[in-house]
């Protein structure tokens, strides 16, 4: 590991530097003595999984947050940004995913917003403004009518305009947060060209993205954050992808390799015909031609880094997300896309990732939460039958060991683990064929976690087909009989048999070609 400032990696003098910056929110440490530096003409990747502290760091650098400790230095001098405008005036600009310009104003007006050239009468000098805007955009190879309203342009071009605006305000540092998340491939090329031009002018870039390929294409340096700490800083070229991924996830490569090969659940491999076949699942900017088939009794892990499309794939199958293309079949019958009730009728149910926001109804009792989806089945002539409900609720509260004072207790008073069991009970009451689990053990205590994991195993043994998404590497590896790894929205690799281990998974997450070849053998053997 190298020091933030004085290694001999690419780039010129340090422009913006954070020294031992800390930030706490209501007792939770978001940033813990983080060192971060960007250099003239260099492009630094800021990497980290959810909750690593990336956005907090960016907000500290741009004056949205004030740090609780540590120093910010701009061009070697200590600075304090009280608000975003201060940072912008000092030359630190941010380009967000969503362009924050005025959509109804013209391109030129947006570029010069707040500093329009004036005529002698104090009116806006449109002629000069348009010419200047055209010159500026031409320099980046962006050809648009600068008089047209911004919102009439594609998103990619709008972003270029934002970029041009930032640079024309004498930006010294440009921070880009997921700039390509909604761009077309061709727009991405233009963006990369512009970034190269900016770097030639000596501007420092901070680049945040989940896309590995982009990072390696655009950046020459990297800082990895994990749990609010900077765990690695250095040149990017010397850092293999696999090591970068293990840094982000906090799994050391050596340890993983020593762990060796496990044949965890080969015995449980199913030979029955697949119950769910998903083909060519595609939705613009999210997933692209994802194929997946699951047999009864199988637990298929869906691997992938943040932004790889793993949750989106689940949502597509559960009918939560409308598809542009592709089909989901259950037992050979196709399921209407984009309809949750249709998916549920076909036997596909999903445990959502965010239990609080998308799962439980906090004001209702345990009973009402369990029977929520099954209500029509537990009713007669539109009247809900308490007797039928009690039968179901009793069975699942006992079977899943749901700890509540009674079925009438408010679900919001239960622990996270018990709430999760209530959610699982809600779906088991529907006698599903396919259970999609999005982070089933997130935010629940260790004991409940083991219980939920054991339950998942048990359900698979009973013939349920299960898809498991988890950001915990060991949960995916230990829980799954097969792992499909997504990368940038499409299926990258499939791990089967002896290849379902941490080493292969990390390699696949990183997009290591060698690992692809190794696991393809395993995949071929089982198909």
């Amino acid at each position: 590991m190298m020091d933030a400032a004085d290694d001999d990696s690419p780039g010129g003098a340090t422009v913006l530097e954070a020294r031992a910056v800390s930030k706490r929110f209501a007792g939770v440490t978001a940033l813990d003595a983080v060192d971060f530096a960007v250099r003239e003409g260099s492009s630094t990747a800021l990497m980290g999984e959810n909750g690593a502290g990336k956005s907090t760091l960016i907000k500290v650098l741009t004056g949205v947050y004030q740090p609780d400790g540590g120093d910010l230095l701009l061009g070697g001098e200590q600075v304090a940004f009280a608000r975003p405008l201060d940072a912008q005036r000092s030359g630190v600009s941010t380009i967000y995913q969503e362009v924050n310009l005025v959509p109804l104003m013209s391109v030129a007006q947006n570029v010069f917003l707040g500093r329009e050239p004036r005529t002698r009468l104090g009116l806006i000098d449109f002629r000069t403004m348009h010419a200047a805007a055209r010159r500026l955009l031409d320099a980046y190879g962006i050809r648009v009518d600068v008089r047209s309203p911004l919102r009439s342009l594609p998103l990619g071009v709008q972003q270029m305009v934002a970029l041009a605006r930032a640079v024309s305000i004498n930006a010294r540092v440009v921070i880009m947060d997921e700039p390509t998340s909604s761009l077309e491939a061709r727009e991405v090329e233009t963006l990369f060209r512009v970034i190269a031009l900016l770097r030639e002018q000596g501007i420092a870039i901070v680049y945040v993205s989940h896309r590995m390929d982009e990072i390696y294409a655009v950046c020459d340096r990297v800082t990895v954050l994990r749990d609010g700490r900077a765990v690695h800083t250095g040149p990017l070229g010397e850092l293999p992808r696999m090591e970068l991924v293990s840094l982000m996830l906090g799994r050391s490569v050596e340890r993983v390799e020593r762990g060796g090969v496990t044949a965890f659940r080969d015995a449980g491999r199913s030979t029955a015909p697949p119950v769910l076949v998903a083909t060519d699942l595609s939705r613009k900017h999210q997933i692209d031609a994802v194929d997946l088939s699951i047999r009864p009794g199988e637990i298929v892990g869906l691997g992938g880094l943040l932004g790889s499309g793993r949750s989106e794939t689940l949502k597509a199958m559960a009918g939560v997300m409308q598809l542009d293309r592709g089909a989901v079949d259950v037992d050979g019958r196709s399921v209407r896309s984009g309809s949750v009730p249709a998916a549920i009728r076909a036997g596909i149910v999903m445990l959502p990732e965010d239990r609080k926001a998308e799962g439980i109804v906090p004001g209702l009792s345990v009973r009402d939460n369990i029977v929520l989806a099954a209500l029509p089945r537990l009713s007669r002539g539109g009247f809900s039958s308490r007797r039928k409900q009690d039968a179901v609720v009793d069975v699942f509260m006992k079977r899943l060991h749901i700890k509540a004072s009674s079925a009438d207790q408010l679900v919001s008073e239960l622990s996270g683990g018990n709430q999760q069991k209530v959610m699982i009970a809600r779906w088991l009451a529907m006698s599903p064929k396919v259970l999609l689990l999005d982070e089933p053990t997130r935010g629940i205590d260790v004991g409940a976690k083991a219980e939920v994991q054991a339950l998942i195993d048990e359900l698979a043994a009973e013939g349920l087909a299960i898809v498991l998404v988890s950001s915990e590497v060991e949960e995916v590896v230990e829980g799954s009989s097969r792992v499909v790894v997504l990368r940038d929205g499409s299926v990258g690799t499939e791990l089967t048999g002896v290849h379902v281990d941490e080493e292969h998974l990390l390699a696949a997450l990183a997009g290591d070609r060698g690992a692809d070849a190794g696991s393809a053998v395993g995949a071929g053997a089982t198909r």
């Binding site: 998308e358 799962g359 109804v361 906090p362 009402d368 989806a373 209500l375 009247f383």
Partner: protein
Amino acid sequence: MTAGSVTLALPARRELLAFLQRYGVYLAIVVLLLYNLFFTPNFFTLDTFRTQFVQVVPVLVVALGMALVIGTEGIDLSVGAVMALAAAIIPLYIGYGAVPAALIAIAAGAAIGLVNGSLVALVGVQPIVATLAFLVAGRGIALLVAGEQLKSVTDPGLLALGRQGVAGVPYSVLLAVVLVVLVAVLVRRTTFGKQLVAVGGNRRAAELAGLPVTRILLLTYVAAAVLASIAGVVGTARLGASVPSTLGNLIELSAITAVVVGGTPLTGGQVRVLGTVAGALLLQFISATLIRNNVPDAYSQIAQAVIILVAVYIQRGRTAAR
């Protein structure tokens, strides 16, 4: 020591607020009745109570529908205008008899409810905005339908609804009791009622659980509008005249007050039917008490405002204490 007393005080405060949210309205009614028993002459007579119950019917019936809408985390500002529309329609069809005229008025109300519900559920307009449209336009439409002049209603069937009863109980009060029971059963016993409350409690979760959220919202706004048109029919029957220019004016505010005072949170996910009944009665008793004691009517409105503030404070305080 200080820390100890704080940890003790918080749950106690929370429980008190929870108790007040649930039963405060009944407590207030009891206090008010006791006050009248001792200080207001001639308050405790059968006649007084009969009048109070007859007068509360429109607000109560409208509030029942409002409670359903608020249970879905919505609000319906158009109910007064729907009442006016019902009043305007009745004289046009009263020639066919009281029942057909009332049914047509109710059907028109249902249509408005369908529009409100579509705006909320399909278009995704905020309920307050979606129903504001008809609050503004509705009375105008009603006046266009009715023509300018006041029309008296002479149909004996309709007048009976407003002025007669059995065994001393007015028909309109009986109708209100039936509606209260129907709505209470709807909320507590039917699949629809349970789904409605779930939609209000967590709409996203309801969608992901496969509930027909759109249909539930549509039906809820239709139900609110149907109840409002029934209130319009009853109001017209009692007046013996169709008065779309004033009937139900500002009733949406009284209805919302009754619902909130009755312990139904504005944040949705709960519907308290009996609480709503009590809330409407409380408002009625307050204005009656003030009138009987020769306090100007303006004070009654101020009193209403104070009660709303207290009720909302109790709800807020309870969530904050969590």
